[in-house]
Symmetry: C2
Subunit: 352 residues, 2 copies
Amino acid sequence: MKIAILPGDGIGPEIMAEAVRVLRALDLPGVELHDGLVGAAAWRVHGHPLPPETLALMHACDAILFGAVGDPACDGLERHLRPEQAVLGMRKELGLFANLRPAKVFPGLEAHSSLRPEVAGAIDLMIVRELNGDVYFGEKGMRTTSDGQREGYDIMSYNESEVRRIAHVAFRTALGRSGRLCSVDKANVLETSQLWRDVMIEVAADYPDVTLEHMYVDNAAMQLVRAPGKFDTIVTGNLFGDILSDQASMCVGSIGLLASASLGAEQTAFGTKGAYEPIHGSAPDIAGKGLANPVAMILSAAMMLRHSFGLEAEAARIEAAVASALNAGARGADLGGNMGTVAIGNAVLAAL
Amino acid sequence: MKIAILPGDGIGPEIMAEAVRVLRALDLPGVELHDGLVGAAAWRVHGHPLPPETLALMHACDAILFGAVGDPACDGLERHLRPEQAVLGMRKELGLFANLRPAKVFPGLEAHSSLRPEVAGAIDLMIVRELNGDVYFGEKGMRTTSDGQREGYDIMSYNESEVRRIAHVAFRTALGRSGRLCSVDKANVLETSQLWRDVMIEVAADYPDVTLEHMYVDNAAMQLVRAPGKFDTIVTGNLFGDILSDQASMCVGSIGLLASASLGAEQTAFGTKGAYEPIHGSAPDIAGKGLANPVAMILSAAMMLRHSFGLEAEAARIEAAVASALNAGARGADLGGNMGTVAIGNAVLAAL
Ligand SMILES: CC(C)[C@H](C(=O)O)[C@@H](O)C(=O)O
Ligand SMILES: CC(C)[C@H](C(=O)O)[C@@H](O)C(=O)O
């Protein structure tokens, strides 16, 4: 069980250290951790945020634990050299097309959401975001119009098989939850969304036990404020998923708490190959101060054990330890507490 | 002062009747109201949601008061015949490129937001949404890939002059408010957004008194939940504006309260030609029952007086009457009250 450890930039190394401590504490036989560079950290050494060395490591491992990328020092670089491009490159190069983003309020933390406690407390949803298509990866560029103006363009597109594979992931996810799936699109305006909707309906025939509903993205953004507790599983494209999953994650109070899995079609000897990362970014403003909340990173490691290594019991053990540490007051500045990164890591380890 | 009155579908006619009563009560000299059909109502009579008769009326008038369109009976129709297409057609045909969507909590209504009262109470923002470009109006279609699959595509694009004209509207709007403008894009992924950002920065040079900030759309969706009170004026493209403005409007408690203006470059003898409509839709489930909240429609009429007729005092008078009626308890089912459409209209008229 080879795991690539890619801390990245900003608070990445600090929170990764805690996730690694938790993994080591489980003392899982056969686990090998392989360190690599990504983001600005890789650019400094190799001149590229996702150098061939790192890609080779990603390919050689069974799973990737990914911290965060982004560094203000790179703001002036050409776009393809900026740290965030490493995330996009990894997703595309490894064919990680399914992004799972759970959002659930931890017991006792309802008061930290800007939503009223009874609204926040009801949130327990999973966003299944497509991650390899849409306007992210279509042809794009800058051209000159006939009257000599600059015009930027980006082609949004999805084909049937791209939608079908994410549909299957979403229907299976819904089946393992409440059996309710909400597909979000903008089919009243976009052809891409019309195809998305058509294929969702086709795939639904294979899952008679799942109830499929369709919602326009503007309405979904509204309902996620009004009554987020009404959603269970949401499936949507890359762009809408980017927006809605960040919106949903903020509803639970702190983005320092939420993990994500990015899965592809590749199966290893242990499970589905995937990359696991917190929803939050590299937070350069608090980097190096020992203040970052490591919970999202630790929970990403739990998702890895579940999806890439079939270790459900161990994943659940980490999640329970996090919940009990949080409930016992292990909170950093993001949750009005005063514990630092290592202290929160210690609390989780103690509860393990 | 010719006003096209287009009630549309569902609750449209009911709420329009109240807005018209309010307008009539002001007894403005020289006002002419001209009725027309739009949406499913037009499709039933003329076979098209935006027939030539209606377009001609729109062109002939100085402003358009637009109810709502959408009817489940049209769900099976080809997309270009569906009621919502009338909205898109009107915006494009009349060159209404600037959509102003204010979101502010009325005093006393904080408790109706799903946000905590202190978070909701701080909301007072204006979204300036571009309305004539983006992925809405680029080339789109369904094609077959080389391996025989269906593929939907939509071209997203903006050219310099499209961004520049909405930038000027946004900077002027910010100048009339707090002087803070937040431009929302996804420049880490989209070329369209890169151009958007570049042009915003260019135009900023003309407005030294406005502070321009840039935010990625995923972060904006997050911040609109976390601390919506921190925003003042937001400017963004057609697609992101669709999503964020609906999200913001739900933050204030009920979408039955919010109006919008869609303005173009055309100046009439009285002001800027524009269309005015509630943010909400045609609500077929409560249509014909006298239950709909007419406030958004009445406030749309106020925006019309302000922007298309330069009647600031009269606009403010309507807005004050609405605020005082709401504060005195004039509330329908959407706000936990039991007043119907006409009763709320009466309360506003009484407060006028
Ligand atoms: C960094 C950025 C390109 C990325 C995205 O838009 O997908 C991020 O926002 C995310 O959601 O993982
Ligand atoms: C009806 C629909 C096409 C429209 C849009 O997406 O612009 C609506 O959602 C709006 O915001 O006015």
